[in-house]
Amino acid sequence: MLRFVAQRVGYMIISFFLVSIITFWLMKAAPGSFLELNLTVGGVNAAAQSINVSPELMRALVAQYHLDAPWYVQYWSYVWGFLTLHFGYSMEFPTTPTLQLIARTFPVSFSIAILSVALAVVVSIAAGVMAAIREHSWLDASTMFVATLGTAIPAYVVAVLLALVFGVWLHWLPVIGFQGPRYYVLPVLSLAIPMIGSLSRYMRNSIIQSLHAEYIVAVYAKGGGLRDAILRHALKNSLIPLVTVVGPHIAGLMMGTVLIESMFGLPGMGQVFATAASRRDYPLIMDSTLLYSVVIMLMNLLVDLLYGILDPRIRKRGYAEGR
């Protein structure tokens, strides 16, 4: 276990550097990148004007990223700055330290993503189990049809419908703003519903598959019933493949919140990020990309550990080869 974590962390470090190289390279290649500014001729003021920031900020950027040095120094200062939590300066929000910006917005996005995944997982396990127990019945068919429909409707359409129903018709929930738990409900639902669609289908298939396994025959042979078969055996085993699909979902969600955040006016990272991207706030883009990647990697690590918890073969055999 420990060895496994160590190895995965090792892999993560490698991936981290690869990701940072990719982002750095992309940022450098972007047209009009601040990393490509020529400081020798016009000086800081000219450079500042050319990317429309204050000379003050420009000086800070030069100091942070060593813009007058070769690319590898720039690269390293970027990575090192990130690692030591001395994030770069945002051009868009220079008055707020990037770290503070992230510290304020990230938890919102993250909690929305996690909550919706959790909700989706719980609901889809229930729906999947229901459908699997009554395999090929009308209940199964209709549950799965609705679920499939759920996958086919994009989250942003779901969001509007939800806002219409719960905000305008029923007046139960606020549709914009952010002042407390109530404000989470609609965004979380909008993200969770399409996910529930795909996950419950997945869950159903995987429970059905588990129910066809030979060890389930053994459960019946021991005198157990369907309840025992599902609760004691099939459920846990079919969670293992579920973890495989939830992993990428989480990764996808970290970005998927952007639309939902702007839709519901939530102070999330997605908004900051979208602003950064559309205003070409490169330092912020770089740092948030890296941050997202680290989060995604951590999530993946978590998923892998979860695997180990669910599947003793992986845990005990030292998480050998492949997956």
Partner: protein, 556 residues
């Protein structure tokens, strides 16, 4: 049933308003075109806008010299900042110098305040870094007398100072250390308006409460700004969370169809223009005035305004000046006349569009594709039988390639816009200034293609000092622009220097003939406001802020 927390609709002491963007926060030294929150009640300048024009703010009275060059303001003695400090003439000196000083002028991603619209003595030189901020032509004659000296006569100074963009002229408390970036945060900001910031989450919401030290009466207990994508505005208004919301044009029919909503619908004028500017090309076809006129005549601006934009626009006739302000501007309007347009095009050597180069419409794309550009594309294709291509580009990309010359088989227009209220404010201050930096894109069509190349090289040469670049470019323009164009610009310069209305009108009326652009429309803002909300004046200056002075707002 639990009723939503956001039933602002029923709370008569509070007002919730919908805003698309929050620009760059609340520093009056920064201009954000999207929003000007501080001008609506957080800060208060010498004068403030009112329903019938400017009215006293911190200054209770003012005098000016005969030549309109020296202005003296007498301040009220009971004005205080939100921390209790008194507002004095020194506070104005302080904030004006801060706004003009280049080291503090550009900050926070936004553009610096538009101080050049007020011709204070030495202002331009200070901005150019040639003089120290201390030499600015402002003075505190005593604690409650503030004097401004101008470089040129400006009888409109008072009117101009009430513009939302001139909020930089509001006083700042010199005791607050404003060079620290965090001073704009809700717990640190010190302001002198009727309301002050209670809390602020960027891109999410801001809450204003009355400033306890404000000298006058404050109407509401709370004002909330909610920021969100505009597609949600109607929903939020219907759900009762908002008392005022800015709609998308596509929501208008739905609102009109709903009797309970349609009475709340208002169209607020704006001063924004949607235009198509002619892009530089190696092909000189568009240098032919006949061709330009044909293209102009082939655009049905009325249909665009009424059908495509659902009435949330009025046809535009002039790049700089919104028509509802100055009726004289429509004198030069070109009517929609496809037959005549085809005739003109044939005269220019392209009968039935034959032989006409591909016309590219370049659009900066933020969000959805530009439907108006698509409409223009269709109109040109249908009416003139020429080949027109829509070319949307990501905004950053668009702006970084806007100056690139098109190849010889293409001509193009680029989507552009202006945002100006008073024509006087946009007059050329000097030939060099006008040609060297700001507006030369309007003239680059006059340059021979190879000369344009030189200009473009100068433009993109990062290693060049900006002032040197501007000078070199101005020199090129002066050398290659036709004499009538130069004369015409000089008319504008003279109008600026003398503040002569007739010269100004002449300048603008000739504009149509002399610049390379097609004005299309001026948007109207469709806004929903609850009928019990009273006391707002439409802000026709900026896009997103409907009521202009929040303290006038009341609810019955």
């Amino acid at each position: 049933l639990p009723v939503t927390a956001a039933a602002s609709a029923d709370d008569k002491t509070s007002f919730a308003m919908y805003i698309i963007d929050d620009g760059h926060g609340f520093d009056p030294g920064i201009i954000s075109w999207e929003a000007y929150q501080d001008s609506i009640g957080i800060f208060e300048g010498l004068v403030k806008p009112g329903p019938k024009g400017p009215r006293p703010g911190i200054a209770v009275s003012w005098t000016h010299s005969k030549d309109y060059k020296t202005w003296t303001f007498h301040l009220r003695k009971n004005a205080k900042f939100s921390n209790g400090d008194p507002v004095t003439a020194q506070c104005f000196v302080y904030s004006w110098q801060r706004a003009y000083s280049p080291s503090t002028a550009v900050r926070d991603g936004g553009s610096s305040a538009l101080t050049n619209e007020v011709p204070v003595v030495n202002g331009a030189a200070i901005r150019a870094g040639e003089k120290l901020p201390q030499s600015l032509g402002v003075k505190a004659l005593d604690d409650y007398t503030f004097q401004v000296k101008l470089e040129r006569p400006d009888p409109n100074l008072i009117r101009d100072l009430t513009l939302p963009t001139e909020i930089w002229s509001a006083p700042l408390d010199p005791k607050v250390h404003m060079f620290k970036n965090d001073w704009m945060q809700a717990d640190k900001i010190v302001s002198d308006g009727p309301y002050m910031l209670k809390s602020y989450t960027p891109k999410t919401q801001a809450v204003l409460v009355p400033n306890p030290y404000y000298y006058g009466k404050v109407n509401l207990k709370q004002i909330v700004f909610l920021y969100s994508a505009s597609q949600n505005a109607l929903l939020a208004y219907k759900s009762g969370q908002l008392d005022a919301a800015l709609l998308q044009s596509t929501d208008i029919p739905a609102v009109k169809a709903d009797p309970s909503l349609s009475k709340d619908l208002h169209f607020f004028p704006t001063s924004v223009q949607y235009t198509l500017q002619i892009a530089p090309s190696q092909n000189t076809t568009l240098q032919n005035p006949l061709v330009r006129k044909a293209l102009m005549m082939a655009i049905d601006r009325k249909t665009i305004a009424e059908k495509v934009l659902q009435g949330a626009a009025v046809p535009a006739y002039e790049y700089f000046c919104p028509t509802w302000l100055d009726p004289w501007i429509t004198q030069g309007a070109v009517p929609y006349d496809p037959a005549q347009a085809r005739k003109l095009l044939a005269q220019a050597g392209f009968p039935n569009g034959k032989g006409f180069p591909t016309l590219v419409i370049r659009v900066p794309q933020v969000g959805q594709p530009d439907v108006v550009a698509q409409a223009v594309q269709q109109m040109w294709e249908n009416n003139l039988h020429i080949n027109v291509k829509y070319d949307g580009e990501e905004a950053g990309q668009f702006y970084s390639t806007i100056g690139q010359q098109l190849p010889a088989n293409e001509v193009g227009v680029v989507q552009s816009s202006g945002n100006f209220k008073y024509p006087q404010l946009l007059l050329p201050q000097s030939l060099d200034q006008y040609l060297g930096t700001q507006y030369h894109s309007l003239y680059w069509g006059y340059l021979p293609p190879d000369v344009y190349q030189q200009v473009h090289q100068l433009d993109t040469n990062q290693s060049l000092d900006p002032t040197v670049r501007a000078k070199k470019e101005a020199a090129l323009y002066k050398k290659y622009l036709p004499k009538n164009v130069l004369d015409w610009i000089n008319t504008g310069v003279k109008a600026y220097q003398t503040n002569d209305d007739n010269l100004m009108k002449e300048f603008y009326l000739k504009h149509e003939q002399n610049v390379f652009e097609f004005p299309i429309y001026t948007p109207l803002e469709p806004v929903l406001i609850r009928s019990d909300v009273k006391g707002y004046t439409p802000n026709d200056f900026l896009l997103t802020v409907p009521p202009i002075w929040l303290n006038d707002i009341t609810r019955q």
